[in-house]
Symmetry: C2
């Protein structure tokens, strides 16, 4: 399970990953109810909006520091605030991005990440046409200046969008330089020391699953 | 498990989702070995590169129509070809994108998706500044013209990158119009009929998991 979802250090984790993955669903559902004018929300209501058992929701929310009131449920503003903070969306986590190719460039353009706590402060590449330029106001530096820039910026997260053949060596370099968590968008399975967090987000693996299910439905 | 990974229709699926998610790892690893001049590859070699048990790899590859030879393993070119085709990366699947905001716009720029079999042929939005323009050569139409465009293009997949408050109504509209699979990038849990494929890819949920693990490692 931990392997499937790309998280190492399974044994260290307090909050189960499935819970962490469901909480953003509750958050978006609760935000929607707030927009509709609700002031309180119960796990039964969240259950209707998300198709998840109310008992599971109550269990998941027990990890978060909030308590509902009998009959009325959770105060909606407090729940949103507590969830956003618990999920880390209210703090800004600075990150470097490695590899300004098609996907890397696309991620630099996605200002939405900042609203969820991730700010890409600089990017690295070796393409001379990119070095010295900015994308969405984010400077692109030569990869060789990474260690120097680590001293300048306070960064713990590296976003990995390089070609697969350099995914491992670039990860090793990132870790040597002090990066503590790697958001790996490559379809390559990188190996890291135990104390380093890896989050795999392979859009291509998700595509493969979707295509397979689509074909299967067609052939029925 | 199926719920966590955002796939409905669990009972219909022949190939287990964990297998489908590991196959792209093998593919990228095998491509790398080919670049290094290898002509044959064994599951033991793939195991070294991916940290997955060789027996698991052999089991996963048994779903794919290829057989290895004792001592030498799999012929590398054949394995790449068979894997790419099995994963659906060699066919072009046309898609519409709904919601040209920050993330939607970023995905339109990611030409890499095309190399993995997904071609976004048109996008929809209601922003008058976007309608009639192109992004990365992809035309942006008014959402109202969706049904009309469904007749024009041969599309089965919809990429959902709208604000959460319209994620459900837009999904309903997509399905009414004939969309068979939704790639949901919103943090909202959409509900769909049984025969519709949903692939959830919430970057924000992945961020939440990464932030939590990072904090946990810091507090150790």
């Amino acid at each position: 399970m931990a392997e499937e979802q790309g998280i190492h250090n399974k044994e260290l984790a307090k909050v189960p990953e499935p819970t962490l993955r469901r909480l953003p669903w509750y958050l978006s559902n609760v935000k929607l109810l707030k927009q509709r004018g609700e002031r309180y929300v119960s796990s039964t209501q969240i259950s209707k909006g998300t198709n998840i058992d109310a008992s599971q929701i109550a269990k998941d929310l027990s990890y978060v520091n909030i308590s509902g009131r009998t009959r009325v449920g959770y105060e909606i503003d407090a729940l949103i605030e507590v969830l956003e903070s618990f999920l880390g969306f209210t703090d800004i986590h600075k990150a470097f991005l490695f590899g300004v190719g098609s996907l890397g460039g696309a991620l630099l353009q996605d200002s939405g990440l900042k609203h969820f706590g991730l700010e890409i402060v600089a990017a690295f590449d070796i393409n001379p046409n990119l070095i010295g330029t900015k994308l969405n106001d984010i400077p692109i530096y030569h990869s060789d200046t990474f260690l120097e820039k680590m001293k300048e910026y306070n960064v713990q997260i590296g976003v990995l969008t390089v070609p697969i053949e350099i995914a491992q060596p670039i990860s090793d370099k990132m870790i040597e330089g002090g990066i503590k968590a790697i958001w790996n968008f490559t379809p390559f399975r990188i190996r890291v020391p135990e104390n380093i967090v890896v989050q795999n987000t392979s859009l291509y693996a998700h595509l493969a699953v979707m295509f397979n299910r689509l074909n299967f439905n067609e052939e029925k």
